[in-house]
Symmetry: C2
Subunit: 443 residues, 2 copies
């Protein structure tokens, strides 16, 4: 007979570096949801986890316990594999908007639960809300319907899916316990597993514009994600991708939707965005099963994109969500900023870096993000980069455009954007955007 | 201009191993008392302190901030030095009951704020309440009056002294954050400093019967106590004393009061208790000032004891607290257990150890301590040891007596007490009870 559950004993076990029996983790989460484990005991435990870590099986167990705190989606009808992509968040990262339609056009079903802007990083839901009429909150039944009919739906999490995650995340946020791999992993995977995915592709960002500053930290997180996801019976691949410079040409909500549409139209395609999107799309096909090797996946992805079928999927998804699908023909229908000012170079040399975090912070202060949950967002504002990393510029070259609202401090923004650029006298080495790849079937 | 106070930034600073500016510690404690720092933020911070530690000056600053959360005692009238002793808690540790009267008989003033039983260790307040009529809760004014008139008073903390400590301790207790040196030190010193002591003697217990299992951990705690106390302007000496065996002959509330009275009467004096009491009493005289060297202090202490003046002080203190002072003439007036059973040895050999923690746990289960705050205590029950550490015993020698209440499981208790004894075939080396000594003026 085992001793009755004790929150203090549980906290002490982790504090002293021990490994939790699975029942203890379950009792902790159930007790927390039921109110017998107090908030202050939860944060003490989470902080002990921050310092001591969790094994793969502890992390998988925590994930299962969190899934068990709410309802899960019903079983999927027979059909295409159910697959999703998750990114740890970056600046200018509009990959989801492009990838979900491509994957749907390849026959996959993509029930993509997305989030809001967090810190200096953008949020897919905020971007989609730049599309006139687009609703991100749906009845779960409607969400499933869109996935079945269109192939993809991007929406916010329903309140009754993984409620433990919502409450634990709120505590972590105000108690300085965000950056803990097992807590990040269980938060991500619980929401994905509750959607009954068969495959998941993860994009772990490395660099100043993400939340993992070093490659080693990002690699550790990716390993734990892949191992715990595999333990949960999900086919998982993870990528480490570079996030020191913004991804693609634009940062800002409507601007990023417009760039995504133009990307799917084959117009004005940024190299780094292409590299990441194609890699992730191929991985989605692989984890969905039914393709062999890299080349088959690649040709199907390219075909879905070039044929215009992915663009059609985007239009269908927007329409299903109540948005105006004509934006996919004419991105000019998206809201646009009243003032557009070019930023001209005062230096000459090679563009050696564009500080993603600085640009992200700038766009928040321009009104395109939030400092507090209740802050409104101006979808129109943002930054359009006119030169990529590695470009040669002269004095007077247009580096970027600032899209600002009426009466804002355009001059101050200009100075801040200028100092985000770093120049070098020599041509920098070509960057690799995809830094590493982990496959759950090869770990 | 410094940034406005942020609880999250404060938690993150400690989590990452940083050192807090003093204003940050003050803001954290003030915010906690005022309600702007939540309980769950406090425990996250405390757990980070558990892992990262605090410097001496951070610890002193935390102590000052806690003192500032409530009222402090008024200035003392001119007169004898104001001195106290604090022990980290042990089994059979009745030193306070003997030491306060001895120090008072030497002309010191001893405003001793004591506590309740904690875990397997006894509490001085619970022991005093075994004396018919003794009240441990006094108006602060009455407490001061007794100290001025008698020279010593042992009472519970008033609600408005260091309220932050009471609330923080309650959180630590249920969140697994008790065993952290800076938190222990600030908790102890804040209450002592609020009494405006000029000198303080600390008894840090080492071994299974205390809370510091190793000498190294106890030494670190003692160093931090001495350094932070000195930083607060208090003259501090600390001792490391052995707490693997119970101290003295008895464990149990009325039994320990009776032993203390007999000790002061010079009857049935245990060697280990004498060694600790005399050392601590001499240190109290030293930190009170006005004695030179060890010998002068020692002769004054011995004289206060042997002359019976200390016993008189005890009687006066008991009477001032509403208790029956006749117990000092006749300890038989104390409540006594209805059943007394001898425990006879089934082995022969030398007593090599009497597990203090096991005896402490046993006495709780006999009814002499608490498992939960609301449990009542039976003052009558306990254990009387009949052989000391290092004694030779034969089969049939009386090892101890069990003092139990009506209808309790005497046989089960007997078995547990028997297994607390450890025998050896060779005579063990004589133990030193006082293991180490730290002096704030020599650090």
């Amino acid at each position: 007979m085992s001793a009755p559950f004790s929150p203090v004993r549980t906290i002490l076990r982790k504090r002293e570096g021990g490994v939790h029996p699975s029942e203890e983790i379950e009792a902790m989460i159930q007790g927390f949801v039921a109110g017998s484990v107090a908030d202050y005991q939860m944060t003490a435990w989470l902080m002990a986890i921050f310092f001591r870590g969790m094994s793969t099986s502890e992390t998988a167990c925590l994930t299962r316990a969190m899934i068990g705190s709410g309802r899960v989606l019903p079983d999927w009808a027979p059909g295409g594999a159910v697959v999703d992509k998750h990114s740890t968040g970056g600046v200018g990262d509009k990959v989801s908007l492009i990838l979900a339609p491509i994957a749907a056009a390849c026959g996959l079903r993509v029930p993509m639960i997305s989030g809001r802007a967090l810190g200096h990083t953008g949020g897919t839901l905020d971007k989609l809300e730049a599309i006139p009429g687009y609703r991100v909150r749906l009845e779960p039944r409607r969400f499933l319907e869109i996935v079945e009919n269109v192939g993809c739906s991007i929406a916010g999490a329903s309140e009754d899916i993984v409620p433990a995650d919502r409450r634990i995340y709120a505590l972590r946020d105000v108690s300085g316990i965000v950056e803990s791999p097992p807590l990040i992993v269980s938060s991500i995977l619980s929401k994905k597993a509750a959607a009954r995915l068969s495959g998941l592709v993860l994009d772990v960002k490395v660099g100043s514009g993400g939340f993992m500053p070093t490659k080693a930290a990002a690699h550790h997180l990716a390993e734990l994600l892949v191992a715990a996801g595999t333990d949960l019976g999900i086919r998982v691949e993870a990528f480490l991708t570079w996030m020191n410079d913004p991804l693609g040409w634009t940062v800002g909500n409507a601007l990023e939707v417009a760039e995504s549409i133009r990307f799917l139209r084959g117009e004005d395609v940024a190299t780094d965005l292409t590299e990441v999107t194609i890699e992730l799309a191929c991985a989605m096909l692989r984890v969905g099963g039914g393709v062999d090797g890299g080349e088959q996946a690649r040709s199907r992805v390219i075909d879905a994109w070039r044929s215009g079928r992915a663009l059609e999927k985007l239009a269908e998804m927007i329409e299903a969500h109540g948005g105006d699908p004509r934006v996919t023909d004419d991105p000019g229908l998206l809201p646009s900023a009243p003032c557009i000012r070019p930023l001209l170079s005062e230096s000459e040399g090679w563009v050696a870096g564009i500080d993603a975090r600085a640009v992200g912070e700038l766009v928040i202060d321009m009104g395109g993000g939030r400092r507090r949950v209740e802050d409104p967002i101006d979808p129109r504002v943002g930054v359009v980069l006119r030169v990529p990393h590695g470009a040669r510029v002269e004095v007077g070259t247009t580096l970027a455009e600032l899209h600002t609202s009426e009466g804002s401090d355009a001059r101050g923004f200009e100075d801040r954007l200028r100092s985000a650029f770093r120049f070098d006298e020599r041509r920098p080495r070509r960057r690799q955007v995809v830094l590493d790849h982990l496959d759950g079937q090869q770990v």
